[in-house]
Each structure stands twice: as structure tokens, then as C-alpha cells.
């Protein structure tokens, strides 16, 4: 068994060095950070309930980067849902696949990070944010850079489609940088597909800059295999009068850890975070969200809902920081959970840290069961118990789905949820 110790982690993940010789400074920052800090230890507060290091130790035997898997047009076609009309960017174990992608570059531009060498790369997701950002810096080979120029609206959604499979190595690194210039608008969809049931470790960093007065939406589906260990660091800088909305739907995986950070950098901006985790089996999902209000008159809304069955485990940690300058802030956070089985566990920690006095901040958190009376009401009207349960659970979950404004994707996620609720629960 491989030990992930403070000293060995850098060697371990550099078994095959990235072939790309760019990003020297970024890699150095990652290396320096990891050499002095390592990956999160057992008692680390931020990873208390999600022992990623331990899980890696148990499941990953080959720390080399996974080689490209065999992909075909058919596989890509299968991943496209009904009603979808837009561009597709395909990744094969973290590497961009030009032959299978459809990139119109209509009102936006696309390039590899190694070609564009954007200056802001690594300035939004910093190594201090999370050890796995440092690890990604160190190990990613190349990534993609999408920029939307000033005043342009990308009419059709851009679909980021990842195919992952352990192949002569179990580690997948992905890196995405999105730069939305002033007064622009864009919608992203993201989905990850596991090609088989083998265990892999995927470590993703997505950086998004939303400049003045622009609007960006990011809808993400996580439905990977039951052995997958996934760490995702998603960091957004939101500037004056801009809005950013993230909707995350999490259905399956081995151990998923999502760090979602929104830096509200100026007045008038708005950050929205919505999430649904609908878990069964032994899936472990951890959502750590972080909203940082630094300037006055900014708003944030957060709603995460969870339904946990079997021996699944949900972890939620929502941090809201309201800095001293951030007067007139409105920050709302809510986390609701339903436990369906004796073996399901939820650990939640809605955390507020406030240094400004003229603010409206609240958080709420509940854990409970379905309302027996509501169930009875439906049964009394001739709806079977199973169906009634499914209906009520869907009503609970649906509140999150409403925030996906791209209809075909909303329908796609809704179908997946309804399938799950109708069959298993």
C-alpha cells in the first residue's frame, strides 16, 4: 500500500512528469506548498469528515496520470441529451480531444492553456485555498481557456464533457480557465462520464473570472462510478454588477469533494449557489462552499438540499464571510436534508463570520424526514405509497432544479432524479 505522507506526496504524483514545459511558476508554487504542507492529514478541520488522503491510500495503487482511453463518436453521442443544441468540448482523462469536440467559437474564443498562456491562470484559485489546487498546479499537463469578449452574448451553451477511465495510471487532472469580459453573457454545462467501474482519482481546478456587468451560469452534473474519488476546486472572482450562478447536481460517485468559492469583489455583484445531492449506496459527497463578501452592496444566495439513502454520507460546510467593508450585504444560506435510511449520515456546518454591522445575514439548516401527513394526504387520494414518497421527495429536490435555466439540461437532470426516486426509494 502506498503511504501518502508529507514527504512522499510530491514524488508520488510526479511519477510521470507533465510533458508540457509551460506553467513553470505555477508548478513551483504547487510544489513549494505541498512540500511544506502535504495533503490534508487525518485531523485536518477542513477534511475532518472526508478523508481523501486515506481513501487515496486505500484505492489508488498507480499514481501515474491516466493515459487517454479509447473514445468514439458514439460515446459522445450517447452523452448528449435530448434538446441539446450547442458546442461540446470533450476531454479524455483530462486532455482536450479536438476531433470529437464541436467548437464554433461563436462570440467566444477557445484555446489550449499552453497556447494562450493567460496571465490570470492561477490568480483566482490560489494554492493557499486548498492543497488540491497545489496538487493540480503540479500535475496537470494542459487545460483549456475559454474567453468571452466584451459585450458579447454566447447564445448557445458550452458543454464540457469529461470521460474518465483508469488507464496505465489512475490519476486524472483537469484544468479549466474561463474569462468573461465586461457586459458579456455565457452558460456552461458540465458532465463527467466514467467509462468503467474502476477506481480513479480526478482532481479538477476551474477558475472563472466574471468581469463587470457580465453574467455567467454554470450547471454541473456529477454522476460518476462508485469507485471514483473526485476533488473539484471551483473558484470564481465576481466583479462589479456581475452575477454568477452555479447549480450542482450530485448523483453518484465514490467520494466527491467539491470546494466552491465565490469572491464577491465589488459592489452590486451577486453570487448564487444551488446544489442537490441525491445519494445512495456508499456514495460520500462533501460540499464546501465559501462566499467572501469584501465590498458593500453585494448579495449572495445559497441553497443546498440533500436526500440520503442506504449508507451514503453527506457533508456540507457553508462559509459566509462578511468583511468589515462589506456593509449592506445580503447573504442567505440554507441547507436541508432528508435521511431515508438508518445508515445514512449527514454532517453539516453552516458557518457565518461577520465583521460588518449593517448587514442582513441568515442561515438555516434542517434534517428530518418526509412529512407523514403529506404522505397520508396523497395516499388518501389513491396514490400508492412508493409513488407518493417519490413525489414528495421530488418536490423537495425540485426547488434546486428550478435554478437551471437551460431547459433541456434541467429536463435531463430532472429525468435522472425522477428515475432514481421512482425506482429505488
Amino acid at each position: 500500500m502506498t503511504t501518502i505522507t508529507k514527504n512522499k506526496v510530491t514524488d508520488l504524483f510526479l511519477l510521470n512528469k507533465p510533458t508540457n514545459s509551460n506553467f513553470v511558476e505555477l508548478r513551483k508554487a504547487g510544489l513549494d506548498y505541498l512540500e511544506s504542507n502535504g495533503l490534508p492529514a487525518l485531523k485536518e478541520e477542513e477534511y475532518k469528515f472526508t478523508q481523501i488522503s486515506k481513501r487515496l491510500e486505500q484505492q489508488i495503487t498507480n499514481f501515474k496520470s491516466a493515459q487517454p482511453a479509447s473514445l468514439s463518436k458514439v460515446l459522445v453521442q450517447k452523452a448528449i441529451f435530448e434538446g441539446f443544441d450547442g458546442d461540446i468540448i470533450v476531454f479524455n482523462n483530462g486532455e482536450f480531444v479536438p476531433t470529437l469536440s464541436i467548437i464554433s467559437q461563436q462570440n467566444y474564443s477557445f484555446s489550449l492553456l499552453s497556447d494562450a498562456k493567460p496571465e490570470i491562470l492561477g490568480s483566482i484559485a490560489k494554492v493557499e485555498n486548498d492543497p488540491f489546487v497545489a496538487l493540480n498546479n503540479l500535475a496537470f499537463n494542459d487545460g483549456v481557456f475559454i474567453s468571452v469578449p466584451k459585450g458579447k452574448k454566447v447564445e448557445k451553451p458550452i458543454y464540457l464533457l469529461h470521460f474518465n477511465q483508469a488507464n496505465q495510471g489512475q490519476v486524472v487532472n483537469q484544468r479549466v480557465l474561463i474569462d468573461v469580459a465586461d457586459s458579456a453573457e455565457v452558460t456552461f454545462l458540465e458532465n463527467t462520464i466514467s467509462l468503467d467501474e474502476e477506481s480513479y482519482f480526478s482532481n479538477t481546478v476551474v477558475e472563472v473570472k466574471v468581469a463587470q456587468n457580465s453574467h455567467a451560469h454554470y450547471y454541473r452534473l456529477q454522476n460518476e462510478n462508485r469507485q471514483a474519488i473526485v476533488v473539484n476546486n471551483f473558484v470564481t472572482d465576481i466583479h462589479r454588477d456581475a452575477t454568477f450562478t452555479s447549480v450542482a447536481t450530485q448523483l453518484q460517485g465514490g467520494m466527491l469533494r467539491n470546494n466552491l468559492t465565490m469572491n464577491l469583489l465589488d459592489s452590486g455583484c451577486e453570487g448564487n449557489m444551488y446544489g442537490l445531492y441525491l445519494l445512495n449506496g456508499k456514495t460520500h459527497v462533501d460540499n464546501h462552499t465559501n462566499v467572501d463578501h469584501t465590498k458593500p452592496h453585494a448579495d449572495s444566495n445559497e441553497l443546498y438540499k440533500g436526500i440520503l439513502a442506504d449508507s451514503s454520507r453527506g457533508v456540507f460546510n457553508g462559509k459566509i464571510f462578511v468583511r468589515q467593508d462589506a456593509q449592506k450585504t445580503n447573504a442567505f444560506q440554507q441547507n436541508n436534508n432528508i435521511l431515508l435510511s438508518e445508515d445514512a449520515i449527514i454532517n453539516t456546518k453552516p458557518q457565518l463570520e461577520i465583521w460588518a454591522d449593517d448587514v442582513k445575514c441568515s442561515h438555516g439548516c434542517t434534517t428530518g424526514q418526509l412529512d407523514e401527513e403529506a404522505l397520508f394526504y396523497l395516499q388518501a387520494r389513491g396514490i400508492g405509497k412508493e409513488q407518493a414518497r417519490g413525489l414528495l421527495l421530488y418536490a423537495f429536490a425540485g426547488e434546486v432544479m428550478e435554478h437551471i435555466l437551460y431547459q433541456p439540461f434541467q429536463q435531463y437532470c430532472t429525468n435522472l432524479i425522477q428515475d432514481r426516486l421512482g425506482s429505488k426509494f
Binding site: E45, Q324, Q327, N337, L339, L340, S341, E342, A344, I345, I346, N347, T348, K349, P350, Q351, L352, E353, I354, W355, A356, D357, D358, V359, K360, C361, S362, H363, G364, C365, T366, T367, G368, Q369
Partner: protein
């Protein structure tokens, strides 16, 4: 704004009214902490061997521990070797009645507003006062002993009821629990012991007053309350300390044991010296308080009004082991100037149908930091557990902070857990409304704050409620958000 600032200024420069000390002859241990000191303390108190062994074991554990750093507070490290671990008012003869107690001592209590004399009869409170580290006298002992209630200083209990002390000491807060609990177990000098026999309803409020008087002294008292089957007791605790430049340490341990059908209500008004307006001096209040509802249908209720101390680190908790047991936590924590408070509770649901309720009201002013840190844990076998938590924060001024760290860990699908928190300030419209009706801004603030904290203050026993309300109004005098 300038008026507000001026009022704020006045408030933040208000002096600590209990800041005085009386020079008395004291019997002190040498500075420092080692096995010899522990033996010295134990010998001084004529303790039996088992207790000394227990202390030494705790000391060994403590030596292997490191100071916890997870709390949301910053303070210079305490040099525990520069402290004195025992300081007692010198006594030539043991007082037999209150008349024989040093008049200077009585004067201290008079100034604190606690008279140890029979006046208390009218209020029905039995008081055990602890000065520096030693308990100086317990009132109403006779009345209580007729009912079989034991209420005395800890050292007395060790001598007279060793079997009880031996049975319950460390049963709720083990010596290995945390850094300060281990330290306390090794060096505790005195405290109060209270035993309510089966089926007895204690007819009066029991009360302890703590005061640190001597310089360079740490106060390490230990309170142990045992409520046997079907009994009831309401217990009050008050704290003050003189004004000194250097920081003083207070690391107490309170253990409560509630048997079947027993109910214990524990109320605290903590008003240790908070340091001056520049954050100099003040008490470090690192306290471990925990109760166990060991029997079915038992109930433990914590109520605290925290206005003092430079740094507070305190989490009165309940272990709900018995079926249908109930835990409650009501707290008002006020911080001003450079005070820091990290306080909250833990509710551990183990038994079936257990219920807990948390109401925490934080008020921060000046440059203070006020944190709520709580945990609600529902274990796998705790079916139908119910929790409701509410943590509100009120901010006054733009230089203070309010933080909430609620941990909610649920392992049972029948649990119903709710948590909500809000942060707000006193609205200008609220103040304006009061002003319009002829209520001055200052009175309006006191009115609003009192209303805000009412839910908690209502839980306090009558005599304390009045004191707490006054304290609250005084602490917040003139602060307008």
C-alpha cells in the same frame, strides 16, 4: 453619526465596577507547576491518597497534551509556570460560624452584593463563596442537611463524603478530556459539592460565588453536582475578579450527574474582569462544563449570561444518555472592547426520544469578537431525537465581529434537527420609533437589547434575572449601532 460615535466612545471607556482588591494575608503555594506542587496542594488540604494519585495521573496526562488552538480567539500564550496554583486566605482557626469569618472577607462579599449572612434567608439562597481558590463558608447548611442535601466546599466533601466524591469525580469530565480539564484535575484547589438525595426537591436556590483576589493566581475550582433519582435542584454561579494589568487564568470544571427523573438547572452570571479598553489585562476563562442525563426522563438546563472575561472558551454540554432526557442551553454572551468569546454547547443524543434546545444570543460591540460554536450530534441509536437551535447575533459598531460555527452530525434517519441563525443590528427605525415616544437613545438601546435577550433572561432564577438585566444594560450603556 458623531453623537453615536461619542456615545460609543463613552461606552467603550466604561470602567469595570468590580475592579478592586482587598489586601489580605494569604497562604500561597510557590510559583510554578510540577509534581511537588501538586503534592503540596494535596497535603495542604489533607487529602486522602487516592485523590493525590488521581491528581498525579491527571498531571501526567496533561503533560502529554498541547494547548488547543482551534478556538476563534487569539491571546498571548500563558506561562503556566509563572502562576501560583494555590492561594487561600490565611486562617488561624477554622471559622465555626459566620461571625468568626474575617470581617475583611465579609466586606468583599458585601461589595459584591452577596451577604453571607442571614439576609439571604429572605431570598432563600444558600451561598458557598469561593475566594481565590478556597471556599470560605457555606450558608444554610443546617436547613439543607435536614433534607439530606449535602452542599459544602469540595475539600469538606472529600473529608466527609469520600465515597460520593470518589464515585462521581471525573465521571462526566474525565481527566483526559482536554488540556484545561486535565490541568484542573491536577491542581484544583476547591470548589463546591452538591448532592441531592433521591426524591428530594431542593427548597432553595444553591449558589456559589467565585472571586480571584490575589495576583498571579490561577483559579481552578471544581464543581460537582449529583442529583439522585427524582430530585430537583437549581444552582447559581457568579464570578468576579479585581482589575489587574496582567491576565489571570480561570480554568474550572463543572460536572453534573442527573439520575432517573432528576432535574438540574444550572445558571451562571459571569462577570470576570474583561480587561481595560485597550484590551490589557482581564481573565482568561477556559472552562469545561458538562452534564450527563444518565437516567431516563432526566433534564439538565444550562443558562448563562456571559459579560466578562478577556477571553472566554466555554461550552456547557449535555450528554443525553437516558431515554426521554432533555438538554437545554440558553446563553447571552456580550463582548465589548477587545473581549473575545468563543462559546456554545454540545448536545450529544444517545438515548431514545431525547430532546435538546439551544438558544444563543450574541451581542458584540467595540472591537470584540463573539463566536458561537456548537455541536448537535445524534447517534445511531437515538431514535426520534429532536433538536432546535437558534443563534442570533447583534452587532454594534463596525469594528466587531460575530461568528457562528454550528456542527450538526446526524446518524439516525428519525432525527429532526433544525438550526437557524441571523445577524442584525439595532435598526435606526427602531431607535427612531422609541425616540419619537420620548425614550432616549440610550434607554431605547437597553430596551431593545433586553427584549432581544429576553428569551434567555427569562430562564434565570428571579434574583439573578434582575442582576443580569442590570448588568446587560450597564455593559451596553450608550452603545448605538
Amino acid at each position: 453619526m458623531s453623537k453615536d460615535n461619542q456615545i460609543l466612545e463613552e461606552f467603550t471607556s466604561k470602567d469595570y465596577e468590580h475592579g478592586w482588591s482587598v489586601d489580605m494575608e494569604v497562604d500561597e503555594a510557590p510559583l510554578g507547576l510540577n509534581e511537588d506542587i501538586i503534592k503540596w496542594i494535596s497535603a495542604k488540604k489533607e487529602e486522602p491518597q487516592w485523590l493525590l494519585d488521581w491528581r498525579l495521573k491527571a498531571f501526567k496526562t496533561w503533560e502529554a497534551m498541547t494547548e488547543p488552538e482551534w478556538a476563534n480567539v487569539t491571546y498571548p500564550k500563558i506561562d503556566l509556570q509563572a502562576l501560583r496554583y494555590y492561594s487561600a486566605p490565611k486562617k488561624s482557626n477554622k471559622p465555626k460560624s459566620l461571625d468568626e469569618i474575617d470581617p475583611e472577607l465579609l466586606q468583599i462579599y458585601e461589595r459584591l452584593g452577596i451577604s453571607l449572612n442571614e439576609q439571604k434567608k429572605l431570598q432563600g439562597i444558600a451561598v458557598d463563596a469561593v475566594l481565590d481558590s478556597v471556599s470560605v463558608g457555606t450558608t444554610f447548611k443546617d436547613t439543607l442537611s435536614k433534607l439530606g442535601i449535602v452542599f459544602c466546599s469540595f475539600s469538606e466533601a472529600v473529608k466527609e463524603h469520600p465515597e460520593l466524591v470518589k464515585k462521581y469525580l471525573g465521571s462526566v469530565v474525565p481527566t483526559t478530556d482536554n488540556y484545561y480539564a486535565a490541568l484542573n484535575s491536577a491542581v484544583f484547589s476547591d470548589g463546591s459539592f452538591c448532592y441531592i438525595p433521591s426524591g428530594v426537591r431542593c427548597p432553595m436556590e444553591l449558589s456559589t460565588y467565585f472571586r480571584i483576589n490575589a495576583a498571579n493566581t490561577g483559579q481552578f475550582e471544581r464543581t460537582l453536582i449529583v442529583a439522585e433519582e427524582g430530585s430537583y435542584v437549581s444552582y447559581l454561579e457568579g464570578c468576579t475578579a479585581p482589575q489587574r494589568d496582567e491576565n489571570q487564568l480561570h480554568a474550572a470544571v463543572v460536572e453534573i450527574y442527573a439520575a432517573k427523573d432528576a432535574e438540574v438547572k444550572y445558571s451562571t452570571v459571569q462577570n470576570w474582569f474583561p480587561g481595560d479598553k485597550n484590551g490589557k489585562g482581564g481573565i482568561y476563562n477556559f472552562v469545561t462544563k458538562r452534564g450527563i442525563c444518565a437516567g431516563d426522563n432526566s433534564k439538565i438546563s444550562w443558562t448563562q449570561v456571559e459579560t466578562g472575561s478577556a477571553v472566554t472558551w466555554k461550552y456547557p454540554s449535555c450528554i443525553l444518555k437516558g431515554d426521554n432526557s432533555i438538554g437545554e442551553f440558553y446563553s447571552v454572551a456580550v463582548t465589548n472592547n477587545y473581549q473575545q468569546a468563543d462559546t456554545g454547547t454540545k448536545m450529544i443524543h444517545i438515548g431514545k426520544n431525547t430532546k435538546s434546545r439551544i438558544v444563543s444570543k450574541g451581542i458584540s460591540a467595540g472591537k470584540s469578537q463573539n463566536s458561537y460554536r456548537g455541536q448537535v450530534q445524534v447517534m445511531k441509536r437515538a431514535t426520534n431525537a429532536r433538536n432546535f437551535s437558534q443563534c442570533d447575533s447583534l452587532l454594534m459598531g463596525d469594528k466587531c465581529g460575530a461568528h457562528t460555527f454550528p456542527y450538526i452530525d446526524i446518524q439516525n434517519s428519525t432525527a429532526k434537527v433544525e438550526h437557524e441563525a441571523t445577524t442584525s443590528k439595532i435598526g435606526e427605525d427602531q431607535i427612531f420609533y422609541c425616540n419619537q415616544r420620548g425614550i432616549s437613545t440610550e434607554d431605547a438601546v437597553a430596551l431593545i437589547v433586553n427584549g432581544y435577550a429576553k428569551e434567555v433572561l427569562n430562564q434565570l432564577p428571579m434574583e439573578f434575572a434582575v442582576e443580569a438585566q442590570k448588568l446587560l444594560a450597564l455593559t451596553l450603556e450608550g452603545s448605538v449601532g
